[in-house]
Amino acid sequence: MEIPYTTETRPDTGLYNAKLGVWLFLASEVMLFGSLFSSYILLRTGAPSWPHGRDLGLSVPLATINTMVLIGSSVTMVLAWASLKLKEFNKYRLYMGLTILAGFAFMGIKAYEYATKFEHGHFPKTNTFFAIYFTLTGLHGLHVLGGMIINGYFWGPGAKMWKTDPERFTNRIEVGGLYWHFVDLVWIFLFPTLYLL
């Protein structure tokens, strides 16, 4: 049996199923990250004093570069989708490849940051700030990793679908992109919250 509404729009929703599905998933993700942001507010307002991330050795320049890397990867992701819309598969491969490389760059910088923290003896157990810092950035990092795996699949073996069902494949890249942009969006809030304020 075929999966219904992979390309044609479902009459009652006006959408192909995957798009509504991914948006509902993202709604649940908003609540997941939201609960942790809410915890951050509770911890911060409940603490007698709260440090600036940069005073504890968090690197603002590295985090700024990482912000640019993620924003850049969002653009390449949406350009990958647009290339498929224009039926330019080679460009798709290029842009999707760049998106995955940007994921590696982000995780590499993040890993370096973590390593520096550990070298200085800063662990989640060290204090409340580092507890919420590692929880939030750790969960976000797992999301980046998940996105890289999915994008890697669509760059490699999953791209075979372009030959058999190009429209469905284009939709897959669109909803994969929705997830990737969401991960970027979370970082846009994490960056000032943990590094600048």
Binding site: T9, T13, G14, L15, K19, L20, W23, L24, A27, V30, M31, G34, S35, F37, S38, I41, L42, T45, V60, T64, T67, M68, I71, G72, S74, V75, M77, V78, L79, A82, K85, L86, E174, G177, L178, H181, F182, D184, L185, I188, F189, F191, P192, T193, L196, L197
Partner: protein, 102 residues
């Protein structure tokens, strides 16, 4: 988006994506820059949140195609926003509680 699938409008979209990317980069530099001004904490939080909200709205509207999306998605998001606001309000609700105990 199906109404705008012709190559011409996709090429226009691509130009918008590049412009938005440049806008996001500038706003990132801005948010880092103002954080060195040593503003009062409340003001610094307000400015950072305003910039972050603006940036994320750009990402959602343009990259996630919310500019032209079906109504059902908007309703899902309206519900999400309502629950998100409740979630953010929980810490202050807990403080009312403490005041009442005192």
């Amino acid at each position: 988006m199906s109404a705008h699938d012709d190559p011409e409008s996709i090429r226009k979209e691509v130009k918008i994506y590049i412009t938005v990317f440049l806008g996001l980069a500038v706003l990132t530099v801005l948010t880092v820059g103002v954080s060195y001004f040593h503003m009062p904490v409340a003001l610094a939080i307000l400015v950072a949140l305003v910039i972050a909200t603006f940036k994320s709205s750009l990402v959602a509207a343009v990259f996630m195609h919310l500019r032209a999306e079906r109504k059902l998605i908007y309703w899902v998001l309206v519900l999400t926003v309502i629950f998100f606001i409740v979630l953010m309000a929980i810490p202050s609700i807990s403080q009312w509680d403490q005041r009442m105990i005192r």
